[in-house]
């Protein structure tokens, strides 16, 4: 019944046996204990569960763990390098881009991908890039400013 999967999560090779129906987000949270990735809607609409999979931001609540077999996954816990915050993480802190923090990991992963694809996005491009992620606290203005901060920081 269970299937073996091999994947690399935040730089660590993992081998596990999981039921085919186990969602990637539940594998990350319940099996690996990486609880920074959150579940907000179970329907791909809120983006709280966003992780980076082979360089693409994906919603881990609507993907099976077995579909991630062989993939390289980065979660929020793996975004900082050598204890140094990713520029987007720093931007969120500096610009008050979070309040309750629940959407934040998914929002940061999405923003990081947005900046990888477009190093100097306009406000409109940022809003478009964040379309798949809901935040109920901040009203988005400080999130947009956080992404702008990260873009500037990365450029300098």
């Amino acid at each position: 019944m269970k299937k073996a999967i091999n994947l690399n999560v935040n730089g660590v090779s993992r081998t596990d046996e999981v039921e085919p129906r186990v969602l990637l987000v539940h594998y990350l949270r319940d099996v690996l204990g990486l609880t920074g990735t959150h579940v907000g809607c179970e329907t791909s609409l809120c983006g709280a569960c966003t992780v980076m999979l082979d360089g693409e931001a994906v919603k881990s609540c609507t993907m099976f763990a077995v579909q991630a077999n062989g993939a390289t996954v980065t979660t929020i816990e793996g975004l900082a390098t050598d204890g140094e915050l990713h520029p987007v993480q720093e931007g969120f802190w500096e610009c008050h881009g979070l309040q309750c923090g629940y959407c934040t990991p998914g929002m940061i992963i999405t923003a990081a991908q947005l900046l990888e694809r477009n190093a100097n996005p306009s406000r409109e491009e940022i809003c478009h890039g964040l379309e798949g992620n809901l935040c109920r606290c901040t009203g988005y203005q400080h999130i947009i400013e956080a992404v702008e901060y990260a873009a500037k920081k990365t450029a300098s």
Partner: protein
Amino acid sequence: MPTSYVGQRVRRTEDPRLIKGLAHYVDDIALPGTLHVAFVRSYYAHAKINSIDTSAALDVPGVVAVYTGKDVAKIGPVPCAGALPGLKVPDHRVLATDKVYFVGHPVAAVVATDRYAARDAVDLIVVDYEDLPVVTDVEQAAAGTGPVIHESFGDNIAYKMTAGEGDIDAAFAAAERTVKQRIWHKRLAPIAMEPRGVLARYFPGEEELTLWSSTQIPHLMRTQVALMIGIPENKLRVITPEVGGGFGSKLNVYAEEALLGWISMQLHKPVKWIETRRENIQATIHGRGQVGDIEVAFKNDGTLTGLRYNVIADLGAYHQLLTPAIPTLTGLMLSGAYRIPAIQINITGVFTNKMATDAYRGAGRPEATYVVERALDLVAADLNADPAEVRRKNFPGKDEFPFHTATGLDYDSGDYEAALDKAQQIAGYTQLREEQKKARAEGKIMGIGVSTYVEICALGPSTAMPAGGWESATVRIEPTGKVTVLTGTSPHGQGQETSFAQIVADELGVSINDVTVIHGDTSVVQYGIGTFGSRATAVGGTAVYVAVQKLKEKAEKIAAHILKADASKVSFEGGKYSVTKAAGATAATGSSEPVYPVGQGPAGALPEPQTEGRTGLTIAEIALAAHLAKELPPDTEPGLSATYFFEPKNFTFPFGTHIAVVEIDRETGDIKFLRYVAVDDCGRVINPMLVDGQVHGGIVQSIGQAMYEEVVYDEQGQLITGTLMDYAVPRAKHVPNFELDRTETPSPVNPLGVKGVGEAGTIGATPAIVGAIVDALAPFGVKHLDMPIKPEDVWRIINNDSSRI
């Protein structure tokens, strides 16, 4: 280190754990052997339960237990604290018994070794329902006709209430002019990004139960759940770990919280339930849900003389914690920012086959502000006057505070004209009106909306609250000089770990990094009321502030004793007590360094502070001396800690002006913001960055209400906006670039002068947005539109199309 933290834009101390994904929300806590709970919920809005067959579910591998209503009869009813005269209170059990009353009503709870097995088993439980006539129409319910939901009550009217002062009939009889408008406030879903969740662990040896719950009110919940499940209150510990938003939806005590505790006590295992989003929209409280007629009497010169609001409140099938009380808050705020000599509200609260309504960000006040502001726009239209000027004419002057309203309140302080002036200046109001004329001449559809709101915050004096309106704080300095603050508030995004630390660090003259704010654990923190009603800083922050003063009084006595000086000769500055006027005293020699450099603390006995011959002592040195207790004044308690319970004498009344400017696409009906200016006055500001964040978030929830959001039940009581696909929460592309500013009128109600800001955006913004859209469509004869205003509605108006698909 800045000399002062208060008033500064200080980065949040909460953030590092949150941005690294290392914080712990309820579902992030993993206890060995945890069982998972899933619920069978009714898909009928109203039905009789003939039978429930759980046998197939019990056969699912991993299923440990299934409970139905009859199994949990010993658990007390879900509490309602909103007592009103003559209120009908249905018996609200934690699981349905003989009938179900709304879609999402919990019928059975499955407990299994993992969440997948629990969900599998839910699908195998067979409930034989016999459907009953459904009540969704609030006007029929208010008329006392049609099918009855709770049969013993005879009709669906839960209560009727009239409030207000002044001779309302005389005001309307003598009115030179009147306007009247029916206004809907649709049901809204709060949609905290973290749904609700509970983890319960019973310790059979100690006979103690711990509940981790995503709540705004840990202490109130402990009291209520203890009573519901019959565990002594001092054997129940409620912990709120990280809470992913609340907006009032977690200011409640839900069936699931008591049930999980009870199940853990039965099975002697940890049990966890995490709400799905579908459950969240079905069975977490909704907000708003009113329809009413607003009537205003006024003079030909625009002076308001009377206001009456006859409103039906859609309470849902059961009362949750504050359900019936919410419309009474609407009544309190019907004077808005205006001098109105006679005001009356007539409330009819009705039962319907829907989820309960309760406090959602603003909680009854947005409804009041919205109807008053819409009415002011109608008055302006009736007089062909500028809506801003009609408002200005009716403001009480800044010297008229405390200002008594005909709703029975005394507004603490205000300068409404200053906020209006500033907002108009930032917006370039006069020029905007010119641009609008030009735009209209060019065939463009552009509108400007103005809202001058007042809100009621800092809830509140205990006489006006069901379970105490005070708040508590303890401040203590540990032997190593580190400062611990215990607050009875329960922040969940507002940032009080930072703002309270700012207050304390300033008062003690220490680094903010040496202050830790602890909240949300009933075994650690003294009893508190919680976070809601924009009260945390005004009431809880004041408790912190006064506790620090008490602590400093004691510290000063100890300092004087050690320094061998009279207390009157000791002064405190920069974290140090010094003898100021002692003969021959030299400058203080106390060190501002920590008593123990990091990592160099002794493993054994604490070193005594070197006090001999000193003329100054740091607060950290005094804390150590207070704990060593070898050199204290006579009859002084050892330790350095102070607790204060602050009882506010009044509410606070923040205010402001919001101006929205919109343009409508003639081809599509799409509504686009051109500008959004908000000038808010929340009294003294502790951290402007946090205040801006609160205002932004609130306005965007208003944008949601004005343009996108609506919980829809069909005529069978079926919830047809059950996921985030159907229930439209605003996204980044929907929001304008906000232009914020402030005026600052301190509140006399508390020593900090703060008023509160958590709900300003949801209260002040909807009238400005709707006002702008209506103003844009005025050339088409539009005087009012109900929220949410969708492009389709706008397109039909522009195209004079009254057909419906």
